[in-house]
């Protein structure tokens, strides 16, 4: 964590399961939520992040450090984001999208939601319901009618035991 300016400021973030993390202020302020706290002068002690667990926060901080170490080069930032997200499973991505939303980090939010969309691309309706925890509120007749209307879109979908 090399500091660009003379005196590097370090912030302490606390996850909702009471894990503490140190992060350079210059990286942490990628989060508008944290930046506002810093600007309002309430980032002196420990910053509690009630909606993010330790595992997810560790991941987000890795991203903050990684992306802020890259100079203003959108291509390089994009390839860093792609690489960062490439090995994440759906559950991790889902946690990260919620964290990015809560922390108000638009670049991470965009990248993670695009990654989730990419993962969903060939998935079945059953997979989506299960992963997103969506309750099927169609009657069997309604569901059959909706499926019938776009029958061809169910061809070539990844097999899923729930569908």
């Amino acid at each position: 964590m090399a500091a660009e300016t003379g005196t590097p400021t370090t912030l302490t973030l606390k996850s909702n399961d009471d894990e503490l993390f140190s992060v350079a202020e210059s990286a942490a302020i990628l989060s508008v939520t944290i930046r506002n706290m810093v600007e309002d002068g309430c980032a002196g002690g420990v910053i509690p992040l009630d909606n993010v667990d330790g595992k997810t926060l560790a991941s987000v901080i890795t991203y903050m450090n990684g992306i802020s170490a890259i100079p203003a080069d959108e291509e390089k930032k994009k390839s860093y984001r792609d690489k960062f997200l490439s090995d994440k499973d759906f559950e991790t991505l889902a946690d990260m999208v919620l964290a990015a939303n809560y922390l108000n980090m638009s670049c991470l939010m965009d990248a993670v939601s695009a990654k989730i969309a990419q993962v969903m691309e060939k998935k079945s309706v059953g997979w989506v319901r299960r992963k997103f925890g969506i309750e099927n509120d169609y009657t069997p007749e309604e569901e059959a009618a909706v499926k019938e209307e776009h029958k061809w879109t169910f061809e070539g979908v990844e097999t899923d035991d729930d569908n």
Binding site: L98, M109, S113, A114, E121, V125, F132, D137, Y138, T153
Partner: protein
Amino acid sequence: MVRKLAKTSPSNIPPEIIEIILSKLSSVKSLLRFKAVSKSWNTIISDPLFIQNHLQSSNNLFLRRNITDRGFPLVKLEGGKIHTEGISVENIPNGYNVILCDCNGVLLLTDRCRVNKYALWNPSTRWERHLKTRYKDYVVDHGICYDKITDDFKVIFIFATKYAIYSCNNDSWTRKKLRARYRNTGLTLCFDPKTDELKVLQKPEQLSDSEKYVLGYNMASLRGSLCLYGYNYLENSVHIWIKEKGIDVGNNSNTNWKEFLTVGNFRASSMWFTQLCFVENKVVFQEKSIRFVSSETTVEESLWIDAYGGRFIPYRNSLYFPTGVKTKTIKAQQSSLILTLD
């Protein structure tokens, strides 16, 4: 059952984030399939604003207007190269072989061997509708437009003395008399979907200099705005004017055209009859070659497409069409769509 109590259960992703995720999904096939996930997902994906935003993503794909034995050739322009793909023939409405025009990814098709056979087709949703007309007059011009307010596609045919409008929502034809002063005048008319009336479109005054703009001008839709463009023979340049959004196209004033772009040092062949469209932040000209022009004034890339000849129209992943919900029964009724203008 699902482990609802698990800490990492993503079931708490709120609808507004689901909407953001779905907005990143460009595949029309996946989006249509996910309408079956739940009623609220269906509502998100069917929302006209969602559909409109989804269309914004440009994919650099072009369709040739004329069919070949492999269907309508699809080409992708990327990195200065043309990649050819083929839209498979079975998805093309049976018996149609020419694309006349497009609007929001919806194409108007005809059969070059038969008069008055027309269909609307969205290759992304694979939805088609046949528009049978009994009308045998020569079609002077035609067009499709989308009315945001009523979420309706309308097809317009202009004949020598009258014009006819087909509304998808109402599944019906309306015919109107063409005002005598519009006939054989060389005026440019525009169609107002709210009133179904035609209005005279005033062009930028520079274009009236017929020494410079020998072959007149053409029209296109750039990023949802109407534009006019002409080739200046004296200066070898292309001039593009644009109507900014919200400006009434039927207004009598010709001052509300904005100079959008001038491309210098652009030698056009004698056949200056080309389509203009946007690919990302570049304007694309087509004549013998497809040319990319950035918002600067130089031609950046020239791509020769002699292998195909013919003209191309942009192909867009589009959720538009069918509109509304009442289109389901249309297929059974298609034989009753008859245009009676006499």
